[in-house]
């Protein structure tokens, strides 16, 4: 029997999509083994989200609230999550592999002297009822399967690897508070400001569709045509860039996809004028569908693409935008 605890991530009072994806994984593991799913929710004034977590699969929600938890802080959140783990004693702890997950989960796992598999794209139960985690290694050039002998077993999941369940309004979770003595004056680190990058509608790591441009974009201004395509596609779509485009000053670094940029996992990745260097592939090769548009018929990106068009991106991009608008208008 696998009892699973998920760590819900909320930012400014809204739940991250990956937290709902983690709930879907947790539900699968628990249902396959007759276990239950508890979610720990940390923040200030966030208890209202417990009902949503219930509708997405949590049996029980533990709420840790404190004024000092308004913004994410390593020490406060680690204390809250650790208290929940001590109370529930789960077999498995799951969270999203996000900037918060990366900061928090290894810290908590170390506190419990436990093993952790990060950035997993698949999690199942082995014959022994223990977790079997699959994760990309060597920048996505191979996968490893990991088993963990400690209790609990920790894992973080790569955003977009799982689909969240449909919300079921008839499901409700039992909600209770966890009391933790927190002393904010002891926190070693405190977030004092949250910065929003201008423009981006949705973060690359969470995007469902990504329109990316490479060195061939030639100028920052030309990214406009990619944004137009992204707008035509609509919600959940954003624009990315290769390192060559970023280094040439056409796009900011937070748009870079690849080994030294972001690792993305959309259902559709469109690469315009990107050659397909191994370090770029490292960031996007788990995309479910890949489109390559390139002038050079021998560009390596074509070997990874499901669909390819040999041609000039400055002609193809506007044409794709029009075609998308047309198909969207038809419904």
């Amino acid at each position: 029997m696998a009892n699973v605890l998920t760590i819900a991530e909320q930012r400014e009072g809204s739940l991250k999509k990956v937290s709902l994806e983690a709930l879907a994984v947790a539900r699968q593991l628990a249902d396959a083994s007759g276990g239950s799913v508890t979610t720990v929710l940390v923040g200030a004034g966030v208890a209202g989200l417990a009902a949503t977590l219930g509708s997405y699969g949590a049996d029980k929600v533990l709420v840790v609230e404190d004024a000092s938890l308004q913004l994410y802080t390593t020490d406060g959140y680690a204390a809250g999550v650790s208290a929940a783990i001590s109370e529930v004693k789960p077999d498995i702890v799951l969270a999203g592999h996000t900037s918060m997950g990366r900061d928090l989960v290894p810290r908590v796992a170390a506190r419990f002297d436990a093993g952790l598999a990060t950035d997993c794209t698949d999690i199942s139960l082995g014959g022994d009822g223990r977790m079997l985690a699959t994760r990309p290694v060597y920048s996505g050039k191979a996968y490893e399967q990991v088993a963990i002998s400690s209790d609990p077993q920790f894992a973080t999941i790569r955003p977009n690897s799982y689909k969240a369940r449909d919300a079921d309004a008839s499901r409700s979770a039992a909600v209770s508070a966890v009391s933790v003595a927190l002393d904010a004056s002891n926190y070693g680190a405190k977030v004092v400001e949250v910065k929003r990058s201008a423009g981006a509608k949705v973060d690359l790591t969470e995007a469902n569709i990504i329109v990316s441009g490479g060195r061939a974009m030639k100028a920052a201004d030309n990214f406009k045509i990619l944004w137009e395509l992204s707008d035509a596609i609509g919600e959940g779509c954003t624009v990315g860039a290769s390192r060559a485009a970023v280094d040439s000053g056409f796009a900011p670094h937070n748009m870079q996809v690849g080994q030294t940029g972001k690792v993305v996992n959309p259902s559709l990745y469109l690469a315009f004028g990107i050659s397909g260097a191994i370090q770029h592939l490292a960031g996007m090769r788990t995309s479910k569908a890949i489109v390559a548009v390139n002038k050079d018929p021998d560009a390596p990106m074509f070997q990874k693409a499901d669909y390819g068009i040999v041609g000039d991106l400055f002609q193809i991009v506007p044409a794709v935008t029009e075609a998308v608008k047309k198909i969207k208008a038809e419904g």
Binding site: P106, A109, E144, V146
Partner: protein, 263 residues
């Protein structure tokens, strides 16, 4: 300031990954090993901190003989001395076993600040640095793109990357900083630097000297690789041929909607 930097040696990014017959590791022959790119940012930031605030920079790395070359690179860049955790017993560790050894080695340095990479590009685990912070009792800021340390060396302000933007974190030292691209441009080792590096101290510490016998390497690992698997080959893609860009675009959009079902 006592400054420490923990670095990992990894295969070069261009490495072609070949899986061994046992299916549990890559074939090591012909692999070129380098300092993991994010660790280069860590070394650079450690050196800049020393240049501003004075003190010494100690490099710590866990790994086999070949790691010495990467340690020498860090010394040639300007680090002052090194600790090499080298012993067969350290091999095969998971994040926790490795972090235990590194945290214990750092205790012998009592650093005010520790720099690490945000992740090492072999296992892409992004967990060792944070575990070290926890086990060594350090505050932390991870995925850092900008850092300012107060002149008195007691506090720091770090900007970390997060989805949709960034977060500014105020830290009390001692603290660990995990470094992200954008923090700095790593320097190259100069020729005199390379000459000097040969004379700098590289101290080896065994598990027993850290009081960690039986707790490091494979013996201490809680997470174990069951299997290493090749990528599922993507099936050959389709070239869309059409008379005009408009026709090609229309066909692409049709396929994305009807065949791939992603639009």
């Amino acid at each position: 300031m006592k400054i420490a930097v923990i670095i990992k040696q990894t295969p070069d990014t261009e490495t072609v990954v070949k899986i061994n017959d046992a299916g549990n590791d890559i074939v090591g022959t012909g692999v070129k090993y380098v300092m993991s790119p994010y660790c280069e940012f860590a070394v650079e930031e450690a050196l800049r901190t020393k240049e501003k605030l004075g003190g010494e920079v100690v490099v710590v790395s866990l790994g086999p003989d070949r790691v010495l070359e990467t340690i020498r690179t860090a010394l040639a860049m300007g680090c002052d001395r090194a600790i090499h955790l080298k012993d067969p017993a350290y091999e095969g560790g998971d994040g926790q076993a490795t972090a235990k050894a590194l945290a214990a080695a750092l205790k012998t340095v009592s650093p005010d600040i520790v720099f690490a990479g945000k992740q090492a590009i072999d296992g892409d685990q992004s967990q060792v640095a944070v575990r070290v912070a926890e086990l060594a009792g350090l505050a932390q800021a991870t995925i850092v793109t900008a850092l300012e340390i107060a002149a008195d060396g007691k506090t720091a302000k770090a900007t970390r990357r997060s989805e949709g933007g960034g977060e500014v974190v105020e830290l009390k030292l001692p603290a660990l900083i995990s470094c992200e691209k954008g923090l700095n441009e790593p320097r190259y080792a100069s020729l005199p630097g390379i000459m000097k590096a040969k004379k700098k101290e590289v101290k080896e510490l065994k598990p027993a000297e850290l009081g960690l016998e039986g707790q490091v390497g494979a013996a201490g690992a809680k997470a174990k690789r069951v299997k290493l698997l090749p990528l599922a080959e993507r099936k050959a893609g389709r070239r869309i041929e059409a008379e005009t860009p408009e026709a090609a675009a229309a066909e692409l959009v049709r396929l994305l909607r009807e065949e791939a079902k992603v639009l």
